[in-house]
Amino acid sequence: MLIPHPLLGLRDAQEFTYLGDANMMARPDPTGPDAEAAFCDYVFLRDNPAGVHRELWFHEQGDRSWLVVTRNTVTHEILSAELATDVARKDA
């Protein structure tokens, strides 16, 4: 698989480390009243869809940036890649 890095162009997926579902960027509020249950869901439960999936890849053997890659889990087609910092800024 080739990942279209927004700064570096097409890079081999082997340069990256896979973490998982990009929803992990949204950490629960540790001071919230239901923090324990929310963190249990956050750590252990996943949507795990068949089809389009937004996921976190770390460019470990490159510029060490975190990317949010949108990929189809049925075909392995990569639809887009953004810097995770840009995604976080948009969501903030």
Binding site: Y18, R46, D47, P49
Partner: protein, 416 residues
């Protein structure tokens, strides 16, 4: 009709005209007491033990494709009970005991071959870890013995013992481990269940659950609505997709695992061998092909095929372990979809919906578990209590902090 040596001779003398089909192909009834979703190894074994051991009736198995069309037909056929943790090992040893009697029990040749497994170690630290694992195996009543390098040189002289980076120091051997004919296992359980009145319904995809006031009423399928008092789901690989129809999110990611088989060769590898310094395992099928595999690809996938970097990694493991493998030509490679759970161990449990039960999260260890998984799931469905070897496989172990993490790597499915 049963299978026997006498019958093989009789059929050979009469032109093989007496062999019938192994199971009926019934139309679905309007309602069953128990519906099993998933006609793979685990679902068929569940139906078989429900009917044979737990004396349940009015059972159906619903299968989207054909019987045994999922991971039971895509694995590397290894059976073993060499786990470490108390939540796992007694269960896998129970499975091993069921394997040992399976052919007699089912009156079906599933080609269970106890040809042993060798887990190689390459350092003093790894020897200690395997000694500890062997002791844990003994605690559950399983066999295991530590072999020295000299023992191994007698048994498997073709290994690269003097590899400069990963010298082979010895192995943990389980003699009772081995291989079985994967498709035959599914067929044997299917035939046994059918003979006891279970309806095996193929080309019947479950498209939804009918749930009223927190209780299951039945399943919507591509062949119409089927009522059920209890529904057991055994669809590892697609667990998240199916349970999402019941509104559940699971502690599971789906990942692809590749497997490989070489051209047929003369008998060369006596049992199953695993490389301790990388992830590589190999055995030789009765047809002569070297059957081997390694790591999962490592990203969420529902595609039954993987990518080349893992192919390269697996082959490198093989070359480091037994350089002779480089002379064999690769015949086929394929992929299967694994339920990778958050701690690397399975789940056999009730859900929060009355009458809906779940069996999944087998990671890439589901094949060896087939008999015990079916037995324990049948026990749960019939009695509403967990089987005594499967009490740890609960959904709430994650929230309670009682994970069963053999590798100790945490909630990161692609590391298990």
């Amino acid at each position: 009709m049963g299978f026997s040596g006498f019958r093989v001779i009789k059929e050979a003398l009469t032109g093989h005209k007496g062999w019938g089909t192994l199971w009926r192909n019934p139309e679905p009834q309007a309602e069953y007491d128990i519906v099993i979703v998933g006609g793979g190894g685990h679902g068929l074994a569940t139906a078989y033990y429900l009917a044979s051991v737990y004396k349940q009736s009015r059972i159906a198995v619903l299968e989207k494709g054909w019987l045994g069309s999922g991971n039971i037909g895509r694995n590397t056929t290894i059976i073993r009970s060499n786990y470490l943790l108390p939540g796992n090992q007694p269960f896998y040893e129970f499975s091993m005991k069921l394997w040992e009697n399976q052919e007699q029990d089912l009156n079906f040749n599933s080609m269970v071959s106890q040809r042993s497994i060798l887990n190689l170690f390459h350092s003093d630290g790894q020897r200690d870890a395997y000694r500890r694992r062997g002791n844990a195996m003994h605690l559950s009543g399983a066999d295991g013995q530590l072999l020295s390098q000299d023992d191994l040189r007698q048994m498997v002289p073709f290994l690269n013992f003097d590899n400069a980076r990963f010298p082979i120091k010895g192995a943990l051997m389980q003699k009772r481990a081995g291989t079985a004919r994967h498709d035959g296992v599914a067929w044997g359980y299917a035939r046994g269940a059918d003979q006891r009145g279970v309806d095996l319904i193929q080309n019947c995809e479950v498209t939804g659950f009918r749930i009223e006031n927190g209780t299951i009423r039945g399943v919507e399928t591509s062949r119409g609505y089927i009522g059920a008092k209890k529904v057991g789901v055994a669809v590892a690989g697609s667990s998240s997709r199916v349970m999402a129809m019941a509104g559940m999110r699971l502690p599971i990611e789906s990942h692809v695992l590749q497997a490989f088989v070489s051209e047929g060769l003369k008998p060369t590898i006596p049992g199953v061998i695993t490389f301790g310094a990388g992830h590589f395992y190999v055995s030789q099928s009765d047809k002569g092909g070297l059957v081997f595999g390694g790591d999962i690809d490592g990203y969420n996938s529902y595609a039954q095929r993987g990518n080349l970097p893992v192919v390269e990694d697996v082959i490198e493991g093989g070359m480091a372990l037994m350089p002779m493998i480089g002379r064999a030509r690769l015949l086929r490679s394929w992929g299967g979809i694994m339920d990778m759970s958050m701690d690397g161990s399975p789940i056999i449990d009730k859900t929060h919906i009355d009458g809906l039960y779940f069996n999944g999260g087998w990671c890439y260890g589901g094949f060896k578990a087939t008999p015990a998984s079916g037995y324990a799931f049948a026990h749960l469905l019939a009695t509403d209590t967990p089987h005594n070897t499967a009490t740890a496989f609960r959904f709430d172990r994650f929230s309670r902090g009682h994970v069963i993490d053999e590798k100790g790597v945490g909630a990161q499915p692609n590391l298990h």
